[in-house]
Amino acid sequence: MTTLTAACAFGVIAVLIFVLGYIAFQGISSLSWQFLVQTPKPVGEGGGIGNAIVGSLILLGLASCVGIPLGIIIGTYLAEMGDGWFGTIVRFVADTMIGIPSIVFGVFVYAVVVLQQGYFSTLAGALSLALIMIPIVTRTTEEMVRLVPKSMREGALALGAPQWRVTKDIVIPAAMTGIATGAMLAVARVLGETAPLLFTAFGSRFYNIYLDEPMASMTVQIYNYAISPFEEWHAKAWAATLVLVTLILFINIIVRFLTRRKY
């Protein structure tokens, strides 16, 4: 049994290393400082993904600011007070949302925001990403909060702490490592999304910080590079993928570090 699980674990890790290695192998040749800071240029003139990196981080930051806290609040509510019919409905909606393909969120935001406003925008893109994040963070938070032992809550209640303080001071900190893992899953997931952004943030060839204008993103840029007929752009797509994967890895490490168990 141990051998079998070890073999499976090894197999999974081997596949992962192969995928990462292949991306690195394909992408490394086009990687350069210029590539990281320049905006896209016509074929043969170089150009890079600088604006797309900034765009992705802005989109991700906005989406996280909304999606992660909201997900944590809803998930905590479900775990602590969600045993009634209302909780059941919320849980069902969250589960359904997790199962919905991301493009649907893109189309939804396109219909209710982009069409109404008449233009693509960063905010619309961030909104579609936040909608993807919320249910993921919600459900992982709920699972993690439920794992906090009842005895720990009772310890705080017995000191005269009101329920909301027990939740805020004891339960959430105790579940923080797990909650952070859930948030990371959501971050990694939306950082890799292309479809919803095509309908919302759309893409841009320039550096941009205005939230009511179209915004470049790494995934859309990778998409544009990859579907082109040019070898040079294909190589750029690989390089951009390498940057994206590295970025996800770094965010992971940073969050791990920040939420490591102190006590």
Binding site: P149, K150, S151, M152, R153, E154, G155, A156, L157, A158, L159, G160, A161, P162, R165, D169, I170, P173, A174, R261, K262, Y263
Partner: protein
């Protein structure tokens, strides 16, 4: 007037009745030990005194629990201040995922007991000292509470309970998971605490009950069979059932 006065207390988990017509008075600064076979309702009874059972949705209480002459099940009772007044130490030590210092400081903070930072420090140290733990932890106050041994964790939980200045302390088998040395420390502690606090302690250890308590109450199948001075209880109990249980001549 008794510190705690329970009369005709019935307790239900849904349809199952866990306590039947319990009546007992506990005067101030007395230690009462609760003994009885597993599942007889000792923990349930203890938890009715600080309304800890409120956390169980199916729980239902009938009868009166008076503390300082006030019925704790009155609708307008402030449960938080009741629990501050009636502290509890649980069977399994349950420190918070915080530092040793913060574990003790938590109750002081939420109840806003301290005047300033220095006062907070003083109170934490005093509570740790009263729980006979200060010497062992004063150099590592900011390290995790989970780094302590089982016995130290339990004394930390006692310190945490003492820090909010309760008047009554409920202890549910506080030494059940501890070695003889740690157990002895906790027993000495109880004897010490008795000077200030009213204490109700559940234990499966007869010698322990004999060593620390003034009176002993024997529960069986949710009923209070007998309560008498500890000395009498262990030498010449009124009830045959009690004698059988204490002498180990029992099912």
């Amino acid at each position: 007037m008794s510190k705690i006065s329970v009369s005709d207390l019935n307790f239900f988990y849904g349809k199952a009745q866990a306590l039947h017509d319990i009546s007992i008075d506990i005067p101030e600064r007395e230690v009462v030990a609760f003994i009885g076979p597993s599942g007889c309702g000792k923990s349930t009874f203890l938890r009715t005194l600080n309304r800890m059972n409120d956390t169980i949705p199916i729980a239902r209480v009938e009868g009166k629990v008076m503390i300082d002459g006030k019925d704790v099940y009155e609708p307008n009772t402030d449960v938080a201040s009741l629990r501050r007044k009636v502290g509890m130490v649980f069977q399994k030590s349950n420190p918070f995922p915080k530092s040793i210092f913060e574990n003790v400081a938590y109750g002081i903070r939420i109840n806003g007991i301290h005047k300033n930072r220095a006062d907070l420090y003083e109170r934490v140290e005093k509570a740790l000292n009263d729980a006979a733990l200060l010497g062992e932890v004063k150099d590592r106050m900011n390290t995790s509470a989970f780094g302590l041994s089982g016995g130290q964790q339990q004394r930390l939980c006692i310190a945490r309970a003492l820090a909010v200045q309760p008047e009554v302390i409920l202890m549910d088998e506080p030494a059940s998971a501890l070695d003889p040395i740690a157990t002895q420390k906790i027993e000495e502690l109880i004897v010490e605490l008795k000077k200030q606090y009213t204490i109700a302690i559940v234990t499966h250890n007869m010698q322990q009950a004999a060593r620390v308590s003034d009176r002993t109450a024997f529960f069986m199948l949710g009923k209070l069979v007998e309560v008498n001075p500890t000395q009498k209880m262990f030498t010449n109990p009124d009830e045959k059932l009690t004698e059988d249980y204490i002498t180990g001549r029992f099912g």
